[in-house]
């Protein structure tokens, strides 16, 4: 099913990302630290993290559960501010949320009182341009294959459909930067594989920079051009792995199998 993608003419983009070549990277973190207060004591979750992403690049952040990867996404989204370091998006410091950087959560968090259409329209409505750009909502729904469900309520959807709606809700804003916080984490394995292919397709068609947080090694290798491996809390960058395989990628490809072993060893799971 993914082979269809090749006909969309954007496959070349996926092969040679202009890493660091652009004047201002899509995303640039330098020396970022973050800590929370837990029972009155500071709990460091991120320590001196520096990374950057080129425009249109697909980067995966891989690490053990609860190591602070999601915290990093919240910083990039502007939902929280770091205690130290700089978060720059296109050369500008992030001071708050902005519809050009959209976070897709592990839970679809659709608003249950809104229909699928109205959920997807949320961003346009909040920015006061729904009346003008109504057609974009239908386009986004068609993009994720849910055009027929525009009038349905979230409780009528399956988990995979709900997550598609939440992707459409993000994509309708045409974001520069899509922040994916384990978006497929709660789906069953079959839906998950199908959605990984869809995600690649959406990325290739829309041209956004993608930052994916996951703790699934295979998912990171199938989707991303660069996999950044984090240590346990407080999260520090442990290694960075480039993966130049063309899309669509197959999970049994020898290179994927080799990289998987490499990453698992980095995470201390080489034996299993």
């Amino acid at each position: 099913m993914v082979s269809v993608v090749a006909t969309h003419g954007s496959a070349s983009r996926a092969e040679a990302p202009p890493l660091g070549g652009a004047a201002s990277p899509a995303l640039d973190l330098s020396g970022v630290s973050q800590a929370f207060a837990l029972d009155g004591r500071p709990l460091p979750v991120l320590e001196d993290v520096s990374l950057s992403a080129a425009p249109g690049e697909f980067v995966a952040l891989l690490g053990p559960s609860g190591c602070g990867k999601s915290t990093l996404l919240r910083l990039v989204a502007g939902l929280d501010l770091p205690v130290a370091g700089d978060v720059l998006v296109r050369g500008k410091a992030v001071t708050g949320p902005d519809p050009s950087r959209i976070l897709v959560f592990q839970d679809p968090t659709l608003f249950p009182w809104r229909t699928v259409f109205d959920n997807v329209a949320l961003g346009l409505e909040a920015q006061g341009r729904l009346r003008r750009d109504r057609g974009q909502v239908d386009e986004a729904l068609a993009l994720v294959g849910l055009g027929e469900f525009a009038g349905a309520y979230p409780h009528q959807l399956s988990g995979g459909m709900a997550q598609r709606v939440s992707l459409a809700r993000a994509l309708v804003n045409d974001p520069d930067l899509l922040l994916l916080d384990e978006p497929l984490g709660k789906l069953d394995s079959l839906t998950r594989i199908a959605m990984q292919a869809e995600l690649v397709k959406l990325w290739q068609e829309s041209g956004f920079t993608a930052l994916l947080v996951t703790h699934d090694v295979e998912e990171a290798l199938i989707l991303a051009q660069r996999v950044i491996v984090f240590s346990d809390r407080p999260a520090r960058i442990q290694a960075e792995i480039r993966n130049d395989l063309p899309y669509p990628r197959h999970r049994d490809h020898p290179r994927i199998v080799e990289l998987r072993r490499e990453v698992l060893t980095l995470l201390g799971l080489g034996e299993s």
Binding site: D98, P99, G123, Y153, H155, R169
Partner: protein, 333 residues
């Protein structure tokens, strides 16, 4: 969809058999209502009661209608389905009226005037409808004013307390201290502070409504899933959007619990206020009827009150079902 189609398929052959089979329960109900009619008409009253014949005629007509409905016509139509589902209640109601009629008008087993026969209550509706209607009108007017003010103030203050820490800081202690006080306790104070008994009663009804609406709106707003705000903020939502389009819709199920509680409380306060201060309304009518030992009037007023309160609760349920149609598994009223 498919289940309906399936049902039609399976019932299709059975339809012919059902079509001419009488609805036995409705037949029994008809018999009971006819017996009630015969009892009222044939057995002489043990004391002087008006409208006994009219009562017998109405009961007889209902009995005949039920009997015809149970035998004649199409047994598969929607009317027959309704008749089938109501029959047990019609049996019970007919039996209850039969025993009541026997125990009061015919045998005087129950002491007069505390337990008037059914026709005496019907008589009130025929003879005193003007005063009853006037009472209903005054009660409705008072209740509507007080309830709407209380619900609006409660809703707005609940949202404010739930949203703003500063408002919560000042409002929370006041609410905790004064809120649990029953609204009726304010009655003596209200009647000398307010210029008219009507404005005093409106205030009391508003107070009784406002407290539960405030508390539940507040808890609804406070309990909104924080992820909803994160989602809306990353999509470019302003504070105003977060309140109007995220917090309030998410809190609405709680708000309705408060509105239901407030409605129940407002009924109680309304009746007490009318009994003690206001010179009109159903509460006043009850008091007045008791003063004249007109117990039939009292029962009639209670009946009207029950219908009115139940009607209002039903109306509120309808509004809720309409506004919260997105929710799964709503309680059906």
């Amino acid at each position: 969809m498919s289940t309906i189609a399936l049902q039609n398929e399976t019932t299709a052959p059975a339809e012919d058999r059902i079509r001419w089979r009488p609805i036995y329960a409705a037949l029994l109900a008809g018999g009971i209502w006819l017996a009630l009619s015969a009892l009222a008409a044939r057995l002489p009253d043990a004391a002087e009661f008006g409208y006994t014949n009219e009562f017998a005629i109405v009961a007889g007509l209902i009995g005949v209608a039920l009997a015809i409905g149970s035998i004649g016509g199409d047994r598969t139509g929607p009317l027959a389905a309704r008749l089938r589902s109501w029959s047990p209640w019609l049996i019970l109601l007919g039996s209850f009226l039969f025993v009541w009629e026997l125990a009061t008008a015919k045998r005087l087993w129950l002491p007069m005037p505390f337990f008037p026969p059914p026709q005496a209550i019907a008589e009130v509706f025929v003879d005193d409808y003007a005063r009853l209607f006037d009472s209903v009108w005054h009660s409705a007017f008072l209740l509507a004013g007080g309830y709407l003010i209380g619900a609006a103030v409660g809703f707005v203050s609940g949202v404010a307390i739930g949203w703003s820490k500063a408002v919560g800081y000042w409002a929370h202690p006041i609410l905790r201290f004064i809120g649990p006080l029953p609204a009726t306790a304010w009655l003596p104070l209200a009647f000398f502070i307010f210029p008219t008994s009507w404005s005093a009663s409106t205030f009391l009804v508003a107070l009784a409504t406002g407290f539960p609406v405030t508390v539940l709106t507040w808890s609804g707003i406070a309990g909104v899933n924080k992820a909803y705000y994160d989602v809306a903020r990353t999509l470019g939502a302003s504070n105003r959007f977060l309140i109007l389009k995220v917090a309030i819709p998410a809190a609405l199920p709680h708000v309705f619990v408060g509105l239901f509680m407030g409605l129940g409380g407002s009924f109680a306060v309304l009746v007490v206020a009318e009994m003690l201060g206001v010179k009109s309304g159903l509460g006043w009518y009850l008091q007045w009827a008791q003063g004249w030992a007109a117990y039939a009037n009292m029962y009639a007023a209670l009946l009207v009150m029950a219908i009115a309160c139940s009607g209002l609760i039903t109306l509120l349920f309808r509004i809720r079902d309409w506004l919260l149609s997105w929710q799964k598994g709503l309680v059906q009223w």
